[in-house]
């Protein structure tokens, strides 16, 4: 059998719900979880006679995202109607952008085990979401329609088919989520369906110098990174097997739509909606064109926050952090902001990083805290800064620091109060330590002899005795210094 090389080709369409107070074309709230059909009005119900009016904030957030994705924001955009009949779409058309999206030709830089890669972004456009269908439990013969979500602003971000592995597909999705939350344009809460993924995937299989392209599969409405990962991986296997069995390629098979069953871990063919592909787009006559003023675009650009990778690079370069620490500390805008507040208060970038990525993270995980806002940290940056300084300056030991951290979170008291209360301060008074050291030398003739004979590690035994005698409070750095001096005498 001849050798096969298989290359995976993935492009992803992502829908992100924007964080506006109201819907795209009416003043109904975009809140999640309210009683069905209570966030509706004549406009979003699509009643006869109503007209849409564009939400400025939705447009601003969209332009911001387009800019962060390095797209050129359009100087002229318009709205189009996309027609299809579905009971969750009351007008039976969706107001979207067809041939003049608000942003085009950008990229998103992702990090994988192979390093950084730019995934090109084909287009970014704004559109309205549909409502929700609820299906009666126990197989009733009807469905229920809730129109609360109808008209919620959605940003659709379409990548080029630039991803070549499951890992890249996942990285693209997670990086995009990180980006939109950094920008503050979306909560991107996956459980609430605020971010939905539709990967397009096929394989380029080469055999004996000939390349076979498998039919493209569009996977609909994936709601988690894990499902993206699993579904793309499943398709890689399925498409290879299908090709090996049938030989059907893209030119014969075209493009099909498949759903993902999270329970069985398989994709399945979705019944094609009739004439699904004739959307009969045409310019929305009820809305006027958008031609954003240069000054507005400039203002949006000026207010763009530092983006995750830029921040990560800065942390590495200015604070001397490791790649790993910088990654953890820039994983969310909140985390980065918290870290920098501690650095500002302490001027100790590395210890501050260690405290956050290790002990504090442990505490946060142990308590199951979710960090969505700065206030969610169990400890203010000022409080943590106090602790960082106490340990770094030798007032307390690292171990005592862990205890203090835990106690600070528990009690809300300051580090100093806990140190005083528990008597955790280290003995850093050399005159007090000299006596203890002398006693330890006297009480451990064996190790002293070993040390003097060149077995330098024997000092550990004597150190241990000093620490024990001091009740763990002796400052280890100072003890080492005194010991080394005395033993050298």
């Amino acid at each position: 059998m001849s050798q096969l090389t298989v290359k995976t080709i993935v492009g992803i369409e992502v829908h992100v719900q924007l964080k506006t107070r109201t819907k795209l074309f009416c003043g109904c709230r975009t809140s999640f979880g309210d009683a069905p059909n209570t966030n509706t009005c004549p406009v979003c119900l699509g009643l006869p006679g109503v007209l849409p009016v564009m939400n400025r904030e939705a447009y601003r957030l969209s332009v911001m995202t387009a800019m962060a994705l390095k797209c050129k924001p359009a100087r002229h955009t318009k709205w189009d109607r996309k027609h299809y009949y579905y009971p969750d779409l009351p007008k039976n058309y969706q107001i979207s952008q067809y041939d003049q999206p608000l942003g085009e030709h950008g990229f998103l830089e992702i990090e994988t085990s192979q390093g950084r890669r730019k995934i090109r972004v084909l287009r970014v456009h704004l559109e309205e979401d549909a409502g929700k269908l609820l299906h009666a439990e126990g197989g009733g013969n009807y469905s229920e329609v809730d129109l609360n979500r109808t008209g919620t602003p959605l940003l659709e971000i379409v990548s080029e088919p630039d991803m070549t592995s499951v890992e890249e597909a996942r990285a693209y999705c997670t990086t995009l989520r990180q980006l939109v939350t950094y920008l503050g344009v979306s909560e991107a809460n996956m459980q609430m369906g605020q971010m939905r993924f539709e990967p397009n995937i096929n394989l380029h299989i080469s055999r004996d110098g000939e390349i076979f392209k498998t039919p493209i599969v569009e996977l609909k409405n994936l709601n988690s990174f894990r499902s993206v990962e699993r579904a793309v991986a499943y398709e890689e296997r399925r498409q290879l097997a299908a090709w090996q069995e049938s030989g059907i390629t893209l030119s014969q098979g075209g493009k099909t739509t498949r759903g993902w069953n999270d329970t069985s871990g398989e994709t399945y063919v979705q019944r094609e909606k009739e004439e699904a592909h004739d959307y009969r787009y045409f310019p929305e006559p009820d809305l006027v064109v958008v031609e954003p003023e240069e000054s507005w675009l400039a203002e949006i650009e000026r207010n763009l926050p530092e983006l995750p990778l830029e921040k990560k690079d800065r942390f590495i370069n200015s604070y001397g952090l490791s790649e790993y620490d910088a990654g953890v500390l820039t994983s969310t805008a909140e985390m980065a902001h918290y870290y920098e507040a501690v650095v500002t208060a302490t001027n100790r970038p590395k210890p501050a990083a260690n405290w956050i990525t290790q002990a504090l993270t442990r505490e946060i995980n142990a308590r199951g805290i979710e960090i969505n806002r700065l206030e969610d940290f169990p400890l203010s940056a000022e409080r943590l800064a106090e602790l960082v300084l106490a340990v770094d300056g030798g007032t307390i030991s690292k171990n005592a620091g862990d205890t203090v951290l835990s106690e600070m979170i528990e009690s809300g008291k300051s580090a100093q109060a806990i140190i005083d209360e528990k008597g955790l301060a280290q003995v850093s008074d050399s005159s007090a330590l000299e006596g203890i050291v002398d006693e330890a030398i006297a009480a451990n003739p064996g190790p002293v002899a070993d040390y003097k004979a060149g077995k330098k590690q024997a000092i550990g035994r004597i150190m241990g005795a000093v620490m024990k005698a001091s009740g763990g409070k002796a400052n280890p750095r100072l003890v080492t210094e005194i010991l080394e001096r005395k033993l050298a005498e």
Binding site: H15, R21, T22, C26, G27, C28, R29, P36, N37, T38, T40, C41, L45, L47, V53, M54, N55, R56, E57, K78, Y84, Y85, Y86, P87, D88, E127, E128, D129, A130, G131, K132, L133, L134, H135, A136, G140, N141, Y142, S143, E144, V145, D146, L147, E156, N221, G259, Q270, R271, E274, E275, D278, R280, P283, P285, L287, V288, V289, V290, E291, P292
Partner: protein, 102 residues
């Protein structure tokens, strides 16, 4: 492009437009629509090179509203005209898949 529409094409259009037609209606509309389509097709005689389409009637741009919530309807008001409803929702014949994708 031939402008005449046969009953099969009319059936396809009617499906797209979600209008059920009887065979007689298909026949009737095929005849009428063919004549209308032939009539409006006269536009293709014009030389329209370099003419920009007038896709928006008005020479204005950038009409926005502020992101301020208004008072929504109650569920009962929203459902008041529903041909069929449950206590909280519009009721429709069972739809199999998850919902339309935006």
């Amino acid at each position: 492009m031939t402008s005449a529409l046969d009953p099969q094409q009319v059936r396809k259009i009617a499906r797209l437009a979600r209008i059920r037609l009887s065979d007689d209606e298909q026949q009737m509309f095929a005849e009428q629509l063919s004549r209308i389509v032939a009539y409006v097709g006269k536009l293709n005689q014009l030389d329209l090179k370099d003419v920009p389409p007038l896709s928006h009637a008005l020479p204005v741009a950038n009409v926005f509203r502020d992101d301020e919530p208004h008072q929504s309807l109650s569920a009962d008001e929203a459902l008041a005209n529903a041909p069929q409803r449950t206590d909280r929702c519009f009721k429709v014949p069972r739809v199999l898949d998850e919902g339309s994708s935006a």
